[in-house]
């Protein structure tokens, strides 16, 4: 039980500060986690649109190779007369991948939700290090500027693929400062991510409100906390790879340069692959763990039931986090790795499906016999479960060495990681945006437009990435400028064209979201309903919409877990079906069964 002394101590260590009044301190160089969260949301969504536009141009090339790109061609490709040339094509898929992974999905899922939600959901007044938080955002903003700058230099932006493998990514394979700027941008965003991660990890360890034990944290917090741990440990590995690559490109060192260009034997390009994937595999989970957390909570909230086997899901998420650090070699089966080592990596890779299945099955059991409300965030959460299921199952094929030999570097790989990292995390992010929008802005997104957006997005993503899986299974290699120069791929032209049509439809469907988002933010009067969905976690029960600068007038004392829903005793006495985490319940309800 929480004593008054504990609450007093929590208050003493987090005094209420006055809200800054100047424009710069309030909206630009803000140290308020809620403002920083919104800044990350805007920055990420703008780049999501940019990355999506680039994807449309790639799809255009695969449907109509060599034909002038409508609209965008005149805008961006005037040098080639509106046609995508081979060099531009390389840059398109490189920039698309890097922008989506590092500058769109990461800032929305981790930057926006992490910053906005951590203090609100654990019952704190701000992050542990508010200034560090501001530096983290501005490092990120600087990296976005570097990305944009790389488009305007001679020879254009980087073209070595999102993995930036040498020797292609060295100054011999990809000359020009565009590639260097891209690598520098990744390094700078990595610095920002690390600062954010330190803040997240420390805040959740130290600033949980009295009574908010680890096993009372919402699943969202678990997802973000584990992600932050992975970020803190593995983003620096990418940083080291980026630094060495920059040294190679711009200072003449030879870590990754080999062959004829290498002096005295030269270095080894495979070293880069090791460093990249030591980071890169945890990165996959960095992108999906927050989405798992958000979806786990939202499914429970709108099934109006406690999450099924909460502790099991938490344990499974921890297990996935640990295992994710042990499997990176499955990206390198084709590099001449020792077969014994390869089998070890295969084993751990396939083992990950056990905790992943626990998480997915718990999500499904949460729905079982629930009284499901099909609101927009719930639809997106359900969509996330399905697309992640497909993505996870296709991963089994790639994790198996003998199948990977066939499928390696085909569109099947592209389809697989788009189902997990793109569909899974984007639908997860949309779940969060629709769900927390009322808390962030004090008004609700239009439900009807939201549902239209959902159907366009979930069906669109599934069709597009499903098309990728199919052509990959048929043998189409990824990253081909004009796949139909190979006779055996010519038969896939129709399928590719259909897939592109679905992609254009998907993109058009996003306009509904953009319209809804802008209309609601700028032209809808705030309602400021504190808890429109009837949710038991702290940000809904104890903070206003949008929350005050100091979040909580009094730091809440937490009494129970995050999913106290449909307890008959609460329903009988309070005539509602949820009980807040910090709410003194009616007689008997406080001792209700913890969701476990």
């Amino acid at each position: 039980m929480i004593t008054a002394a504990e609450l007093k101590a929590a208050e003493a260590s987090q005094p209420i500060h006055a809200e800054p009044t100047s424009f710069w301190r309030k909206y630009v160089f803000s140290i308020d986690h809620k403002m920083i969260g919104r800044q990350f949301l805007w920055a990420g969504l703008i780049f999501l649109l940019l990355g999506g536009t680039l994807a449309m141009m790639i799809r255009w090339q695969w449907a109509f190779p060599g034909r002038k790109v409508p609209l965008l061609g005149d805008l961006f490709l005037h040098r080639t007369g509106g046609v995508i040339g081979p060099a531009e094509y390389q840059q398109l898929f490189t920039a698309h991948g890097l922008i989506m992974v590092f500058f769109a999905v990461t800032p929305v899922l981790i930057g926006a939700f992490g910053n906005f939600l951590i203090p609100l959901q654990i019952g704190a007044r701000d992050m542990a290090f508010p200034k560090l938080n501001m530096y983290s955002f501005w490092a990120f903003a600087l990296s976005q500027v570097l990305v944009l700058a790389s488009f305007f230099v001679t020879l254009g932006t980087g073209g070595a693929g999102w993995t930036t493998y040498p020797p292609l990514s060295t100054s011999i394979g990809t000359p020009g400062s565009g590639q260097s700027l891209m690598v520098l941008a990744i390094f700078v965003t990595g610095v920002g991510s690390t600062m954010g991660a330190v803040n997240y990890v420390t805040t959740i360890i130290r600033l949980r409100a009295p009574g908010m034990t680890y096993l009372r944290l919402p699943l969202t917090m678990w997802g973000i906390w584990l992600t932050a741990i992975l970020n803190a440990l593995f983003v620096p590995v990418l940083g080291s790879a980026g630094l060495l690559l920059l040294f190679d490109r711009d200072f003449g060192t030879q870590f990754f340069i080999a062959g004829a260009a290498g002096v005295r034997g030269g270095g080894d390009p495979i070293v880069f692959q090791h460093l990249f994937w030591i980071f890169g595999h945890p990165e996959v989970y960095i992108l999906i763990l927050p989405a798992w957390g958000i979806v786990g909570d939202v499914l429970s909230f709108f099934a109006r039931k406690p999450h099924h086997w909460y502790k099991g899901s938490v344990g499974a998420m921890v297990a996935v986090t640990v295992l994710s650090a042990l499997v990176y070699g499955h990206h390198m089966f084709q590099t001449g790795m020792s077969p014994l080592l390869g089998e070890g990596f295969m084993f751990f890779t396939l083992i990950i499906s056990v905790p992943s299945m626990i998480i997915v099955m718990n999500q499904v059991f949460t729905l079982w016999q629930g009284s499901i409300r099909f609101v927009t965030p719930m639809l997106f959460a359900l969509g996330t479960v399905i697309v992640f299921g497909v993505g996870g199952l296709t991963g089994l094929f790639l994790g198996d060495i003998s199948m990977d030999l066939y499928l390696h570097d085909t569109m099947f790989v592209v389809g697989h990681f788009h189902f997990t990292m793109a569909a899974g995390s984007v639908l997860g992010a949309m779940t969060g945006i629709y769900f927390w929008f009322p808390k962030m802005f004090g008004k609700q997104l239009d439900e009807r437009l939201g549902k239209i957006h959902f159907w366009f997005t979930s069906l669109g993503l599934t069709a597009v990435f499903g098309g990728q899986l199919l052509v990959g299974w048929a043998g189409q290699q990824r990253r081909l400028y004009d796949p139909y120069q190979y006779t055996f791929i010519q038969g896939l032209h129709g399928l590719n064209t259909w897939t592109s049509m679905f992609a254009f439809t998907l993109f058009a469907g996003q306009m509904v979201f953009i319209y809804n988002f802008f209309k609601t933010i700028f032209f809808t009067a705030p309602t400021n309903v504190q808890n429109p969905w009837g949710i038991p976690t702290l940000e809904w029960t104890d903070a206003a919409s949008p929350p005050a600068y100091h979040n909580f007038d009094r730091i809440p004392g937490v009494l129970r877990g995050p999913h106290h829903l449909s307890d008959p005793r609460v329903e009988e006495r309070l005539e509602r079906d949820f009980l807040g985490q910090a709410e003194p319940g009616p007689e008997g309800a406080t001792s209700a069964v913890e969701p476990a």
């Binding site: 929480i2 504990e6 609450l7 007093k8 101590a9 929590a10 003493a12 260590s13 542990a128 290090f129 560090l132 690390t194 991660a197 330190v198 803040n199 990890v201 420390t202 360890i205 130290r206 600033l207 949980r208 409100a209 009295p210 009574g211 908010m212 034990t213 680890y214 096993l215 803190a232 440990l233 593995f234 983003v235 620096p236 590995v237 940083g239 080291s240 790879a241 630094l243 060495l244 040294f247 190679d248 200072f251 003449g252 060192t253 030879q254 870590f255 290498g262 002096v263 005295r264 034997g265 030269g266 270095g267 080894d268 495979i270 070293v271 090791h274 460093l275 030591i278």
Partner: protein
């Protein structure tokens, strides 16, 4: 921190008294996480170094200068000396920084500067002997590892200089214990990286 992490279920509020010491513990944990990140950065650099080196046919190549051992060895002692001076500075800090604190901090700063100067002289003499950045993986690894390490020393040196100034200045914002403790941790970390670097790059 260790208590909170070990017990897991216990709310952190129950473990610490209110106010400053609580914030200091928070800062301490933040620094530990930061250092874990830095550890991974240097661990992966050493990992890359190990891979490149094992794949090389000759290390060092016959026509390239060998690395000196004596001067960097001496520098190891300088780095240890700076860390010890910082420890002493921490111990002289009572409720407020004294002139003894400032003295030890100044000594640590001077030793840190000496470390960089010695390292610079090692670079100069090797550069003079013809070891250039574009001379293959051997000089690449040497200059990149020592250079990145020296960059971290430089950051620490600026911080130690600032701490010395704040400890010395009688008026104004007094030097608190938290920054002193955190920068001491950082400095020890950079020293530990140097020890590994000395063994792995200069001696091995």
């Amino acid at each position: 921190m260790t208590r909170g992490a070990a017990q897991g279920m216990v709310s952190p509020a129950a473990l610490r008294p209110a106010g400053a010491s609580r914030r200091e513990a928070t800062a301490f944990i933040g620094m530990v996480v930061f250092l874990a990140s830095w550890t991974m950065l240097f661990a992966s650099l050493f990992f890359a170094y190990g891979l490149v080196r094992t794949h090389a046919t000759a290390w060092p190549p016959a026509d390239q200068p060998r690395l000196p051992r004596l001067l960097p060895g001496l520098n190891t002692l300088v780095a240890v000396g700076a860390s010890l001076a910082l420890e002493r500075a921490g111990r002289t800090w009572r409720d407020v920084a004294s002139h003894a604190t400032a003295g030890w901090l100044a000594l640590a700063t001077v030793l840190g500067a000496a470390f960089l100067a010695l390292q610079a002289s090692v670079w100069r003499s090797l550069w003079g002997e013809g070891l250039r950045l574009d001379g293959g993986p051997y000089p690449s690894a040497f200059y990149a590892l020592t250079g990145l390490h020296a960059a971290h020393v430089l950051v620490g040196l600026v911080a130690l200089g600032a701490l010395t100034w704040r400890a010395w200045r009688p008026a104004g914002e007094a030097l608190e214990r938290t920054p002193l403790r955190l920068w001491t941790m950082y400095w020890h970390f950079v020293g530990a990286v140097w020890l590994i670097l000395y063994v792995a790059v200069y001696l091995a």
